[in-house]
Symmetry: C2
Subunit: 207 residues, 2 copies
DNA sequence: TCCATTTTTGACCAATTGGTCAGTTTCTGG
DNA sequence: CCAGAAACTGACCAATTGGTCAAAAATGGA
């Protein structure tokens, strides 16, 4: 007898509206009324689907990382160094760039809910493990040098890639400069992965 | 006859208090009254030295990047690839880590004052030029490969280093893991810089 | 000591906003 | 077509906060 709505669909609809607003104006500058208007709902309705503004952004962050994880995990296991670099290229070219800046805005020192950092930590932990395995495989196959601990190497590559992604996001996203930078970075990483061991750092002069 | 105060000194004092508050609680969560209390002043007094909260944070961002620029520009010109990597190590180990997250929080989509991005763009432009020169020199001296455009290479290294810095900042700042990651990344970069040309990307297989 | 001038103060204000809830609308099944 | 339950609404509220300004305090010189 009662009215029935698809709760999940409504949540998704609100999330879409919220994401659009947040990306456009930033988290703090976005008002719940903005989101309501964008979603074609009254403000009160939002609270039937999300307990608070924090819950809303948190759910967006979750969805964001879940999707990236999904995208990455379906890629085929690389059998060569080149194939892995191609994965890196895809990762850094991935869509949803606008979310990145937003996430930084939200999860700064002012955001006290620990679930925020949990999501991010969890994602990077997973990715480090995922790629560490692949590094180990590639090293075993002689595709890359095998000097470093795969996990440390994975974390290093992730961090650098994240920076690359960030800079591509924040500065001139689609320009030639961006492309040149991206390829220069990938070349650097690829060469570094393949290069002979112990080649770097002050160690070399010492040893 | 009148009372006289050292305006610059007061500004610096307020900036110090503000920075401490912002770092601790985040920009948005910090109240002007918090800053006043931390500085040992009344709220109204703050407005005698800074026009607004935005001006205050903006001045902090400016000081932050000015200082980094200063720190980097006084380093001696590297004559070897190893020396350059050592510079990178210093750059990424630099203090004031806490400011980084703050800057991301502040200069997100919600911050409309263009001076914010100007400061950052300006800094990275300067750094790219600075290092591009050094790359060109090192390439001329045969210390690093000379295939890439020095400026693109510089921007790539900067982006990757920024990511590294960021990850070191946000996750386990002082742990062994962080050290391992940092050294893995530096080794990778060093090897990549020195490595033979055209070694990477799908090109290799094709060429 | 006293004045002129600068500096400081903090109560106050206007504007804002996340969140609530009593009342209204919409839908379903009979 | 109706009743009842679910869903929706938006005026309202309590709390907050950046910023102001008239009054008070502090200072240095005469």
């Amino acid at each position: 007898m009662p009215k029935i709505v698809d709760k999940e669909k409504m949540r998704a609809q609100i999330q879409a509206a919220a994401q659009s607003c947040f990306i456009q104006k930033g988290y703090h500058a976005t008002r719940m009324s903005d989101i309501a208007k964008a979603a074609g709902l009254a403000k009160g309705t939002l609270y039937l689907y999300f307990d608070s503004k924090d819950e809303l952004i948190l759910s967006l962050v979750q969805v964001f990382f879940d999707r990236i994880r999904q995208d990455i995990s379906v890629l085929p296991r690389p059998q060569t160094a080149e194939a892995f670099v191609e994965i890196l290229r895809q990762a850094v070219t991935m869509q949803q760039r606008e979310m990145t800046a937003l996430i930084f805005e939200v999860l700064g020192p002012g955001f006290t809910d620990p679930r925020g950092s949990q999501i991010i930590d969890g994602f990077f932990d997973w990715l480090a493990g995922h790629w560490a395995e692949q590094f180990a495989d590639l090293a075993r196959m002689g595709q890359i040098r095998s000097g470093s601990d795969p996990r440390a190497l994975a974390r290093a590559v992730i961090a650098m890639l994240d920076g690359l992604f960030l800079h591509l996001t924040l500065f001139d996203p689609e320009s030639d400069i961006a492309t040149a930078r991206r390829e220069a970075a990938l070349t650097l990483i690829a060469t570094g992965l393949r290069g002979e061991e112990g080649a770097a750092t002050g160690m070399r002069a010492a040893g």
